[in-house]
Amino acid sequence: MKENTPIRVLIAEDEALLARALADSLQRLWPQMQLIGIASNGFDAVTQALTLQPDVLFFDIKMPGQSGLDAACELTDQWPENQTLPLLVFVTAYDNHAIQAFEQAAVDYLLKPVNEERLRQTIARLQERLKNRTGVANAEEIMVQTLMQLRAITPKTAPERLRMIRATVGNQIRLISVDDIVYFSAIDKYLNVVTVDGEVLIRASLKELLVQLDPQQFWQVHRSTIVRVDAIRSAQREANGKLFLNLHQRPEKLAVSRLFAHLFRPRQT
C-alpha cells in the first residue's frame, strides 16, 4: 500500500457522540485516514462494511442488534473470498473477560474513554500491519485466529452434557437422542433439529446448545450450523471458493464459514 493512499475506515458505535469523538481523534492523529461511514448497530456494521469495503474497522463491542464480536464473525463469513479482510480494532467501555482475551489476540482493542496516547499506539500498529499486508491469505489467517480466540471467551464449561433433545410436536413431547441428530441449524430464535428422517423446531440458541454438546461429537461449522461429525461424508470447495459439506444420510449441502474452514484442512504430517 502506498504512503499516500487514503486508509478507509468504518466505525461502528451506537452512541453518536462517541462515534463522532473517535472519528475526530482519528482524523487529527492520522491524516491519511478517510472516514467512510459510521454504523449505529451490529447489523448495520456488517451491511456497511460489505458495501464500502473498508481497510480498517473500529467496532464497539456492546451494540444494539448484535454485538461487535458477532458482527465481526458474520462479516468474516460473508466477506468475498478473493478480497483482503479489513483490520479490526475493538472498542469497549468495560469488559473484564474480553480485555484478557484482547491482550492475547492479534487484533487491537481500545478502552472507552479513549486515551489519545493509546490511540496513537493503535494507529502506529495499524500502519505497520497495513504496510506488511501481503495477500489475502495472511489477513484471513490473522482475522480467523483472532475471532476464534475471542469466541473462546464465552463460557466453555457445560453444566451437563446433553443426551436427549426434547421437542414439542403437536400435543406430545418427542425425545431425540443426540446420536440420531445429523445437524442443528439456527433460524431466528429457533433451532432446527435435523435427523435422518425429519426435522423439528425447538426454542433454543446455538450458543447455549453448543456448550452442552460433546466437542468431539459435534462441530460448529458455520455461525448458524452445528453438525455431528460422523454424519459428514465429505468437504468440497466449490468454484467460487466456498466450502461445503456433503452428508451421509441427508441430500442437502451445509456451508462452512471461513472461521471454521480450518477444521477441514488436510493435516500436515
Binding site: D14, E15, A16, L17, L18, R20, A21, S40, N41, F43, K62, P64, G65, A93, Y94, D95, L111, K112, P113, V114, R203
Partner: protein
C-alpha cells in the same frame, strides 16, 4: 492421649479466664459463712478455706470439662453428674490443703467431724452450680455476639454487592467517555451532564445505605439517570415520569424502583436498534400504591419464568424478597408484556404499611 499438646494449650487459655469469677465466688462464700452463718473462728480463716475449696473445685470441674469435652459444649447430664461428685471431693481436698497451710494436723476424719460438714458440702455445691451458670451465661453471650457480628457482616457484604450491581461499570465508563467528548466540543452540555452524573452517583450511594427515602427523592434520582441515558442514546430514548404531588412525600425503601428502570433501559431499550420510550408512573388505587415502569423495548423472553416464585432472575428475586419482608404478603411485583412492544414492571405496595413505616 487426652492430654495432647492442643489440650494443654486449651487449658492454659481457658483456666485463667475462670480464675477471677472463682475468686469472687470464694470471697462471697467466706463473707456468707462468717457474717451470716456465724461459723468458724473468723473471716481470715474462713477466707483461706473458701479459697482453697473454691480453687480446687475450679481446677477439678473446669479441668474435667476441658479434659472430657474440650472446646465443645459439655454433655448436660454428664456435667451435672461430674458437679455432684466433684463438689464434695473439692470440699475435702480444699479443707485438707487449708488445714495444712495453717499448720494444723490435717486428717479427713477431723474434717468430717467438724459440725456442719453437710452444710458446707451443700454450700460448695451451690457455689459450683453458681459458677457453672455464670460460665454458661458467658459462653452464650459470646456465641450471641459472634452471631450478631456475622449477621452485620453479611448485611454489609449484601449492601456492597448491591452497590456494585447498581453502578454498573459499563454505564459509568460510557458516560465518562461521553463527558470527555463533550468537555471540548460542548462545555455547557458537559457541565449539565456532569451535574446529572454527580446527582445520580450521590443519590445511588446514599440511598442504598439509608433505609428509607421518599417517592419524590426516588423520582429525582430517576430523572438524573434517564437524563444521562438520553444524552448518550440521543433520539433512541424518550422518557416520561409521572408522580402526583400528593404522593411525593410517600416513604419508600430505596433500590426498589431504580433496578426496574435500569432493567428497562439495559435489557429493553439499549439493545433495541430503534430504541423507544420509558414511562414511569405512580397511581393510588384504593389501598394500594401502584408504580409502573413501562418500556417499548425488546420485550420479555416468553419462555423465561419472570413471575414464578423461584425465578432465576436474581434482580427481580431480590426485589420480591425485599418487598415481602418490608411490606408483607400484599406487596407484589409483576412483569408483563407491554402492548404492542416491550415490557411493563409493576410494583403494588399497600399504602397503609408504607405510611406506617
Amino acid at each position: 492421649m487426652l492430654l495432647s499438646a492442643s489440650r494443654l494449650q486449651l487449658f492454659a487459655r481457658e483456666l485463667p479466664r475462670s480464675l477471677v469469677p472463682t475468686l469472687i465466688i470464694n470471697l462471697l462464700c467466706a463473707l456468707l459463712v462468717t457474717y451470716l452463718m456465724h461459723v468458724g473462728t473468723g473471716f481470715g480463716e474462713n477466707l483461706l478455706y473458701a479459697m482453697c475449696i473454691g480453687l480446687t473445685a475450679m481446677l477439678l470441674i473446669d479441668g474435667g470439662r476441658l479434659l472430657l469435652w474440650g472446646k465443645d459444649n459439655p454433655h448436660e447430664l454428664g456435667f451435672l453428674l461430674m458437679l455432684v461428685l466433684l463438689a464434695p471431693l473439692s470440699f475435702f481436698i480444699g479443707s485438707l490443703i487449708a488445714a495444712s497451710l495453717q499448720g494444723h494436723p490435717a486428717s479427713l476424719v477431723a474434717i468430717s467431724q467438724t459440725h456442719n460438714t453437710t452444710g458446707f458440702i451443700v454450700l460448695t455445691l451451690l457455689a459450683c452450680v453458681g459458677g457453672t451458670l455464670f460460665y454458661w451465661n458467658r459462653q452464650k453471650m459470646a456465641s450471641l455476639q459472634a452471631r450478631n457480628t456475622a449477621i452485620e457482616k453479611q448485611a454489609v457484604i449484601a449492601q456492597l454487592q448491591m452497590l456494585q450491581a447498581q453502578i454498573e461499570p459499563h454505564m459509568l465508563f460510557n458516560t465518562l467517555a461521553t463527558l470527555q467528548t463533550l468537555i471540548s466540543s460542548e462545555p455547557l452540555r458537559a457541565q449539565q451532564m456532569l451535574d446529572q452524573l454527580i446527582h445520580y452517583l450521590r443519590a445511588t450511594l446514599s440511598t442504598s445505605r439509608s433505609e428509607q427515602t421518599t417517592l419524590g427523592q426516588e423520582f429525582l434520582l430517576m430523572e438524573a439517570y434517564l437524563g444521562l441515558m438520553s444524552l448518550r442514546m440521543g433520539l433512541r430514548l424518550t422518557y416520561a415520569l409521572h408522580l402526583p404531588d400528593e404522593l411525593r412525600q410517600t416513604p419508600i425503601a430505596p433500590m426498589l424502583l431504580q433496578p426496574l428502570i435500569e432493567n428497562a433501559i439495559r435489557h429493553g431499550l439499549e439493545p433495541k436498534i430503534g430504541g423507544g420510550s420509558c414511562t414511569v408512573q405512580v397511581t393510588q388505587q384504593q389501598t394500594m400504591l401502584i408504580i409502573s415502569v413501562i418500556d417499548t423495548g425488546m420485550g420479555l423472553d416468553s419462555d423465561a419464568a419472570y413471575n414464578k416464585p423461584a425465578s432465576t432472575h436474581l434482580g427481580l428475586e431480590n426485589i420480591r424478597s425485599r418487598i415481602d419482608a418490608l411490606y408483607g404478603p400484599l406487596a407484589e411485583l409483576t412483569l408483563t408484556h407491554n402492548i404492542p412492544s416491550g415490557a411493563m414492571a409493576q410494583l403494588s405496595l399497600p399504602m397503609q404499611v408504607l405510611l406506617a413505616e
